[in-house]
């Protein structure tokens, strides 16, 4: 299985998320992660969708089907080495009285993570990184009691000198 990251630029319209995800559902493709945000251009949203697939050909077909959606402006499929990508994870860790104390220095310096909230009997640690880095940190931090763990979907930019507007159809794209 190869990981593909799809960057989908769309006009910002209601229901578009649904229109895009049904393309995956219909082909029985599981979405590994999904991130939607506004871009630096007014009215343009960006979907970052991660999927795993054996067949590059099938992914190319998928990309063309997504491009076909009327409100989609552009779609790109990337392999991991073609992009800079990251995720953000939050860990709520129990810090009860008498428990083994967290090694904050190690968390900061060795793991490049940080405590973002100090509760009475817990802390919230934020860890940025790739899925792999987050998984490794998970493995480390589970030595303490994990009360909650969650992570975002991937965000990714292509390793090219091009700006977003060069990918979009010709038009007056106003900067936000």
């Amino acid at each position: 299985m190869t990981t593909y990251t799809l960057s989908i630029f769309t006009s910002n319209t209601i229901g578009l998320l649904n229109r895009i995800t049904i393309i995956f559902t219909r082909r029985r493709l599981n979405i590994e992660s999904l991130t939607v945000c506004e871009t630096e251009r007014k009215g343009v949203s960006r979907f970052t969708i991660v999927i795993r697939h054996d067949s590059r050909e099938a992914v190319e077909k998928l990309v063309r089907q997504i491009r076909k959606v009327v409100d989609v402006l552009a779609v790109f499929g990337y392999l991991d080495h073609e992009i800079v990508f990251n995720e953000i994870a939050l860990f709520k860790i129990a810090t009860p009285l008498g428990g083994v104390p967290l090694n904050i220095k190690e968390i900061n310096l060795d793991w490049n993570a940080k405590v973002v909230h100090w509760g009475l009997d817990y802390v919230v640690i934020e860890k940025n990184g790739t899925e792999q880095e987050i998984a490794e940190f998970y493995h480390y931090i589970k030595n303490w009691e994990i009360l909650e763990y969650l992570k975002s979907g991937r965000v990714a930019v292509g390793k090219t000198e091009k700006g977003l507007v060069e990918y979009l159809p010709e038009g007056d794209w106003e900067v936000v």
Partner: protein, 581 residues
């Protein structure tokens, strides 16, 4: 009334807001300015304000009251297939809208332009499970080219213009606009302005192909020894039948038309070799796997055409001319893809193509034709039995109408037979439900086709099963008085399913025999004349009666009960594995 609407449209800027159109009036005015002349519809609660506005627009917009919303959708499809303009259907919310889903799905698969205007509950009731509320945007999303919910009257002109633009351009398809009752009753807060020309920045289909793609395609075509063309619906949708004719005549290449492309080429043209696919012609199928260059024009390599993709045209280089880029390499790899409109592509290709003829290659088709004639055609048309065969009925109809009628077929055996034996002489003459295979399509679609092409003879050819799925549209036809000619090829079976059960399910006939009503009495009940024929000797005069009628007419032809349609490529089999008997 007309004068009133004109002053409303030309509202001077300093007019009071009360002078502006309501959303409902804006819908009507938009349709008029778009050039729409016919609406197929059915009123109900959530669309009532728009029907009220329609009352004042009756001189400009012809509204056809169907008997079921599905009928409105299929009629709009029939209309669109004749005019190459979007058919318009207008229905209410909830069940009115859900009844429209089958025609929309059908139009999506067969690339038929439709604009469906659907009422929705009041804006403040959205999402509350209100009476006749239904998330029609959600339901129709996978089966529309585009859909949109209007909640603000001011949006109406722009959204309607966009709807027509999207439905009709590029690869045509169905568009649904869901309009809340509030958006219909509210007054616009700005003057009405309709601009037909729309630019949707995220949707700019390529019409003129890239020159380098044309050159690559021409190079392949010119180098071919055994080229073969498959012409699809895209040819008709692009109005490219003349360009196709010039192209094949210069290049000397044999051409087949797909089921949806049927009638794009004159059936008697010497280069015409029939149709490919499950019940297509013997040579047209087998030789797909012998040609060296396969030129697909405006078609999408549907599985009913390709059978087993693993063995399909593997020896051939493929030129694929197609307006929808998502179809390129979807099923069959294209060595020379040409993205663009069929008309523009053929125009650009023509000067680059060598004049040629392939007598030996064409003789191959003739060889298979001869076998097919011996094994199938002859038996269908010139048999000794007493019972009428579907094939002979269609062939006789074809002769009597000189191949110039529009046939509108439903789904099943009669559909395959009709397209097999009707010799289409004119383009835009076969209307059928291909991709979706929607039983019940033909009767309302035939009515819509007649509305779209009132000067042409329109003959619906329907099985006894499918006829009962939209039988209520006899009422619509009767009320209009339009001379739609209806033929039921009655074998008292769901014939195609029965054929499969016979061939592939060991003759276990599971729920395929029908106890049919007296169709003629039913037609009479609707005010439509008709008669039944079962005697072969009387078939000819019966067809004459049907064709000579200046009113709608129903002819029920009692056919041989267990007739099978051949040739047949079993589903998923290689196209060379043709069953002939």
């Amino acid at each position: 009334m007309a004068a009133q609407t004109q002053t409303m449209t030309a509202a001077p800027k300093n007019k009071e807001p009360e002078q502006f159109l309501t959303g409902a009036q804006a819908i009507m005015q938009s349709l008029v300015e778009q050039g729409v002349d016919t609406i197929f519809g059915y009123p109900g609660g959530a669309i009532m304000p728009t029907y009220d506005a329609l009352y004042d627009y009756q001189d400009k917009l012809k509204h056809i009251l169907v008997r079921h919303e599905q009928g409105a959708g299929h009629a709009a499809q029939g209309y669109a297939r004749m005019t190459n303009r979007a058919g318009v259907a207008m229905v209410t919310s909830g069940p009115g809208a859900t009844n429209l889903m089958t025609p929309i799905a059908d139009a999506m698969l067969d690339s038929t332009p439709l604009v469906c205007i659907v009422g929705q509950v009041k804006g403040n009731l959205l999402g509350t499970d209100a009476f006749q509320e239904c998330d029609i945007i959600g339901i129709s999303m996978p089966i529309t080219k585009w859909n949109y919910q209007v909640v603000d009257a001011n949006e109406i002109p722009e959204i309607i213009a966009k709807a027509f633009h999207i439905a009709e351009s590029g690869r045509p398809g169905p568009v649904l606009i869901d309009i809340t009752r509030t958006a219909q009753t509210d007054k616009m807060t700005q003057p009405f302005k309709y601009e037909k020309k729309v630019d949707v920045i995220s949707y700019r289909p390529r019409v003129v192909p890239k020159q380098e793609h044309i050159e690559a395609a021409a190079k392949l075509i010119n180098a071919a020894k055994k080229p073969y063309i498959l012409a699809g619906h895209g040819v008709l949708l692009a109005n490219a039948q003349d360009e196709l004719k010039q192209f094949i005549e210069k290049a000397g290449i044999p051409v087949a038309t797909t089921l949806l492309g049927m009638s794009a080429v004159d059936a008697d043209h010497p280069l015409y070799v029939g149709w490919p696919g499950m019940h297509g012609n013997y040579g047209a199928n087998v030789l797909t796997n012998e040609c060296d260059v396969l030129i697909a024009i405006g078609m999408r390599f549907d599985d009913r055409i390709t059978g087993d993709l693993g063995t399909y045209a593997k020896q051939a280089k493929v030129v694929h001319i197609e307006i929808d880029p998502a179809e390129i390499n979807k099923n069959v790899f294209a060595d020379a893809p040409v993205v663009g409109d069929a008309k523009e592509a053929l125009k650009a290709l023509l000067p680059l193509i060598n004049t040629n003829s392939y007598p030996e290659w064409r003789a191959e088709f003739a060889k298979y034709d001869a076998i097919e004639y011996e094994k199938i055609t002859k038996k269908d048309l010139f048999h000794e039995g007493d019972q009428i065969k579907m094939g002979e009925a269609v062939a006789m109809l074809s002769d009597k109408t000189k191949g110039e009628a529009v046939t509108v077929t439903d789904v099943g055996q009669h559909q395959m037979i009709a397209n097999r034996y009707y010799r289409f002489k004119k383009p835009f003459s076969s209307v059928t439900s291909g991709g979706a295979g929607t039983m019940g399509f033909a009767l309302p679609a035939a009515f819509g086709a007649k509305m779209g092409a009132p000067d042409r003879e329109v003959v619906a050819i329907i099985g006894d099963g499918g006829f009962q799925m939209t039988i209520q549209e006899l009422g619509t036809i009767a009320q209009s008085g339009l001379p739609v000619k209806i033929i039921i090829l009655n074998n008292n079976f769901l014939g195609m399913v029965r054929q499969w059960q016979q061939l592939f399910f060991d003759r276990r006939y599971s729920f395929v025999e029908l106890q049919n009503p007296d169709f003629i009495t039913i037609a009479k009940g609707f005010g439509i004349a008709g008669h039944t024929v079962s005697d072969r000797a009387k078939l000819s005069e019966s067809l004459d009666t049907l064709l000579q009628s200046d009113k709608p007419y129903l002819l029920e032809i009692i056919c041989e009960k267990e007739e099978n349609v051949f040739p047949m490529v079993p589903a998923g089999a290689c196209v060379t594995k043709v069953i002939l008997e």
